[in-house]
Amino acid sequence: MYVIDPDNWEWVWSGNSLRFLFEGFLVNLEIALLGIVLSLIFGLMLALLRISGSKLLSIPAGIWVDVWRNLPLIFIILYLALAVPSSWREAYGNAIPDFFPEALQNELVLGALLGLILYNSAVLCEIMRSGILSLDRGQQEAAASLGLTYLQQMRFVILPQGLRRMVPATVSQLITLNKDTTLVSIIAIQEVVRHGSSLTSANFFGGVQAPILQVFIMIGFFFIVVNFLLSRLSRRLEIRERKRTGTTLKRVRGLEDQVAAETDLADPGR
C-alpha cells in the first residue's frame, strides 16, 4: 500500500530530513509560546476593561473584541502582512532581544504575531469575561463591604475564582492557537509547513524522495502529540484543583473558537 510502503518512509531514517522537519516544528512552538503568553496578558487586560463599570472603557473594548474575533485569523494575518508599515517591522527587528530564538528575529514574524495576538486575545477576553461573570454577585459585594479596593477585589477574590473556571476553555483555545501557527507559512515564514514543502521537492537531501503525503502525515503526527499532551495537562490541572479545593469545579465553556466540549470522563458521577 502506498501509505505504509517502507520505500515511501525511507526519508525518515536517511539523511537529515526528519531533523529539518523538526526544526521547523520548533519554530511553530516558539511562535505559539510567545503568542500564548502575550494573548493571555492582553486578553486579561481586555476582559478587565470590558467588565469595568465605566461605559467609556467597556463599550470600545467590546467593539474591539467583537471585530477581531469575528474575522478569520488568516484574513487578519494576510492583511497585517500587507498593511504593517515597514518602519514597524524594522523597529520590531531592532527591538527584539538577542536571546530570543533566531526564527523570531525575522521581521516578517511581526505581522504573524500581531495577527495571532489580536485574534486570540479577543477570544480569550470573552472566555475570561464569562468566567468572571459566572461568579455570584455576592462575592464582589462581600469583598467590597470588607473594605477592599476595586483592584484588591479583583486580585484576591474575583480573578482567582473566575480564572479557575476558564481553564478548560482556555486550554482548548490554546490548542487552536498552536494549530494556527501553521498559517504563518502563508506569509513566507520558514516553519514546519514550509520545511515540509521544501523536503518534498526533488533531491532536497540527496537522492531519497520524500513523498508529500508521508511528510505531511508526519507533521500532523507532531501536532497530535503536542496537542494531545496539552489537553491531558488541562484535565490534570482540573483534577488537582478539585482535590485541592475540595469542590466540584464549575466550568465555563462554549466561547472558545472551536468548541470542544470535553466530556466529563473524570467526573465520578458519569
Partner: protein
C-alpha cells in the same frame, strides 16, 4: 486613487463571486460535518468497545491536526499518491471532516446530558440500541447542542478562509480580495469590504442559530 465606495462598486462582481464561493464551501462542508459528526458521535457512545476506539481515534486525529496540514494531505498528498482529487472536493472534505470531529464531541456531550435513565427506559421497552439513539437520544441531544453547533459553524466560516488561502487556491472571498488588492494596492479598502462579507456570514449564522435555539426549545 478611488475611495472606499468606489472600490466596492468597481469590483462588485469579484467580491460577490468570492462571497458565494465561500458560502457554497461552508454549506457543503456543513452537510459533510453534520453527517460524519453524527456518525462518529454514535460510534463514541455505542456500547461496543471497538466502535468507541474508532470514534475516539477519529476525534483525536482530526481535532489535533491543523487544517492547513489536512489540506496538504488531502490535496497535494493524495494527488502525488495518484488519487485525482479536485481542489473543490479536497477543500470541502477537509473542512467538513475537520469540523466533524468537533461536532461529534459536542453531540457526545449532548448525548450524555440526556441522562442514562431515558436510555434504560427505552431499552427496557424493547427498542434496539440504534432505534433508541435515533428516536430518544439524538432528538434531545441536538437540541441541547444547538448553541455549540452555532459557534462551530461560525468557526467553520472563519476556517473556510484557510482553504482559499492555501495551495488549493479556490476563488473564495479572501482569494478574490487578495486578487483585487494586487491590482489596486488599496489594501485597507479591499480588506474592509472582505471583512464586511465575512461579518455578514458570521452574523447571519449567529442569528439563525439563535432562532433555532428558540424554535426548538423544550417548553417546560
Amino acid at each position: 486613487m478611488s475611495g472606499l465606495w468606489e472600490v466596492l462598486t468597481e469590483h462588485l462582481p469579484e467580491f460577490s463571486s468570492g462571497f458565494f464561493v465561500t458560502f457554497r464551501l461552508v454549506a457543503v462542508a456543513f452537510v459533510i460535518a453534520i453527517v460524519v459528526g453524527t456518525l462518529v458521535a454514535a460510534f463514541r457512545v455505542a456500547p461496543v468497545r471497538w466502535l468507541n476506539l474508532i470514534g475516539g481515534f477519529y476525534v483525536e486525529t482530526f481535532r489535533n491536526i491543523p487544517l492547513l496540514v489536512l489540506l496538504f494531505i488531502a490535496f497535494a498528498g493524495l494527488r502525488r499518491a495518484g488519487v485525482p482529487i479536485s481542489p473543490w472536493v479536497a477543500g470541502t472534505a477537509s473542512l467538513g471532516l475537520y469540523t466533524a470531529a468537533y461536532i461529534a464531541e459536542a453531540l457526545r456531550s449532548g448525548v450524555f446530558a440526556v441522562g442514562k435513565g431515558q436510555v434504560d427506559a427505552a431499552l427496557s421497552l424493547g427498542l434496539t440500541y440504534p432505534r433508541t439513539l435515533r428516536l430518544i437520544v439524538l432528538p434531545q441531544a441536538f437540541r441541547t447542542v444547538i448553541p455549540a453547533l452555532g459557534s462551530l459553524v461560525i468557526a467553520m466560516i472563519k476556517n473556510s478562509a484557510i482553504v482559499g488561502a492555501s495551495l488549493l487556491a479556490l476563488p473564495d472571498l479572501l482569494k478574490e480580495a487578495r486578487q483585487i488588492q494586487s491590482e489596486t494596492f488599496q489594501t485597507t479598502e479591499v480588506f474592509f469590504w472582505a471583512a464586511v462579507g465575512y461579518m455578514i456570514l458570521t452574523l447571519s449564522a449567529t442569528f439563525a442559530f439563535r432562532y433555532f435555539e428558540r424554535r426548538f426549545e423544550i417548553k417546560r
